[in-house]
Symmetry: none
Subunit: 211 residues, 4 copies
């Protein structure tokens, strides 16, 4: 990647034919695979090869390497945000305990679906863009959680955004911790249990403190 990072987010050419859409998807998928093949640096050529197309084709859809990476990152982030948002919306009006349970389940599941790829991606997208994408996603998720919390049937949160933000980062921290320890399923389950305990305790404390 050159020094410059003026990276338009959108594919250079809007796919007008079915074929093109498939090509773009193949490239994005290939990018993830290359990212996951620990040991091999992500190279545009490598991605194109894995996708079964030529470099030229890749560059027909992404103006540069950065934009490809951003698109992949964005997709992942969107996936997580969508899952969390849906879960939150379906829990409006419920008691807090059910909310936290559903939220955590949705978050953990979404994160773990492609967690490794997402971490790898995160590592690559050095650009300010990477941070920005993550930030946008955070904002969106925090808003969804806060909105949900405001409708709790058995508690009230004067500053739901603060609570939501804390919750989000705690969830993110624990998830990441498990991933990096690269332990198995047991660790994940254990983590999810503790995360639930943590959330319940925290939310209870917030209610008690009037936060």
């Amino acid at each position: 990647m050159p020094r410059t990072l003026a990276t338009p987010l959108q594919p250079r050419k809007t796919p007008q034919q079915a074929r093109s859409g498939a090509t773009v998807d193949a490239i994005l998928e290939a990018a993830i695979q290359v990212l996951l093949a620990e040991g091999s640096t992500l190279t545009t050529t490598r991605v194109a090869a894995r996708a079964g197309v030529s470099v030229g084709t890749l560059y027909q859809y992404f103006p540069n390497k950065g934009s490809l990476l951003q698109t992949v990152l964005q997709h992942h982030m969107d996936g997580v945000a969508d899952a969390v948002q849906t879960a939150c919306e379906s829990m409006h009006g419920q008691p807090v305990r059910r909310m936290s349970e559903a939220l955590i389940a949705a978050f953990v599941q979404a994160k773990f679906r492609h967690l490794d790829a997402s971490v790898a991606l995160y590592r690559i997208s050095d650009d300010v863009q990477g941070k920005q994408i993550a930030l946008r996603m955070h904002t969106r998720v925090i808003a969804a959680i806060a909105a949900m919390l405001s409708t709790a049937s058995d508690a009230s949160f004067p500053t739901p955004e603060l609570v939501a933000e804390t919750l989000l980062h705690a969830m993110a921290g624990l998830s990441r911790g498990v991933l990096e320890s690269s332990q198995g399923l047991a660790a994940k389950t254990r983590m999810q249990t503790e995360l639930t305990r943590l959330a319940d305790a925290y939310l209870g404390s917030c209610t008690a403190a009037g936060i």
Copy 2:
């Protein structure tokens, strides 16, 4: 860095003379500075220049770029681990609430001291090595926290490692969250407050549940 990453962790030559030690330190310091100079890729030449030595000299002390990066990472990790460990040891026998307070203060302070550098570093050290170093540090910190928790005057934790791990990752998650949002001091203070509330609530819940 060549494709292969067989990177010995130790400097090629143990610094035996004062001068060598100074040189190594200068290089490590320079590496951090280059890392922090956002926008400039970390280059061995660049690091050497910043350190006021030649590339050749750099390679006299580090067999390759990876080993340099790992050393820097290690130093940072050690710093955080040392701070936390010291704090933990000084709190043996205290009540839980005082423990969590001291722990969080120490962690946040240590993390924020060079947090940006540490994140940048982490991003760079792709190698499996990076993860391993982080893992070793985690293990050490978890052990220190667990040991402290076991001596609490007003509570008992049957599985202190599990609690310690959860705590650590929650602290890490919240710290990272604040860093990435690149907001100011206010956010940090707010975060630290919530982190304390979270820890207290969680530890209380653990005690109650007999975890």
Copy 3:
């Protein structure tokens, strides 16, 4: 353009239909425009886009980029040669002074009409072809001038080709000089005045010397 430059000069297909002719013209015109859009490299795709056709269509009429460029060059050269030739023919039998005046006027006007494009073109057509085209044009123009000079009513030129060639290159040199200095109209007018003085003086000197 591939390394090899075996470039047939003629369009692959003689335009036999009105539509084809229009397409070819559009492509040629587009090529000039792209050439003139300083800063943008001439690309077959770019030319096609500007012409409102697809690359495929462009390649239906020109076997390769080189042949397109040559055709454009040829057109320009032909334009200049035609103008000069016409001017020369209309001056047969006139006195030398009127001849040189008319010649210079025609040449300068023709050159300046698309001078920038012509220079750009010339620069592009690296191939030996470019030189050949220019040479053919020179030959033709020199012949026309020489023929005219031979009919002068008030002088005789034993070696009119030599005189014509000298005149041509002097005209070309002064024109190019003005173009490159990218000064305005004033410079052009001043140049034309001096060019006329130069030509008159030279032709007079030739007559006197019996050249």
Copy 4:
């Protein structure tokens, strides 16, 4: 060459050792040779190979291809300008006829020394820079010629710059004409003769007209 042309003129690194100076010279010489090898595009790799060094070395001395080309061009231009300037200075106070003779001899000789290379270079240096370099050289040469003309023992030129400019471009045009016709020595000699006649006639006419 990328789209951008921000090309520092100076070598990236000032040669500090004898070896470096030799390397730079070798690269510049190689560039000319590659330029002259008609048919082969000038490639940084190709130039480096011809110079007997690696691409990396080339880039140690020239930040990019453009700067290399500019340096070569500059050298050539300087050569011509130096020759003309010296000739002009040595003719101060002489009669006009001797001046023009010496000027033409110096110019033609200097131009023909590396004329082919210079033309090739000129064709390559598309960049505005190419024009600028040529322009600077023209300015310098015109000044030298004008200064000389002002000291003529047998004539006076109220606007010596105008006369000098006309003369320069005429010389350039005729030289170029001969080169491009790629005829032999005879053509060159004939050209020089005519050029002298042209110059004498023109200068005489200027004097008579009070220009």
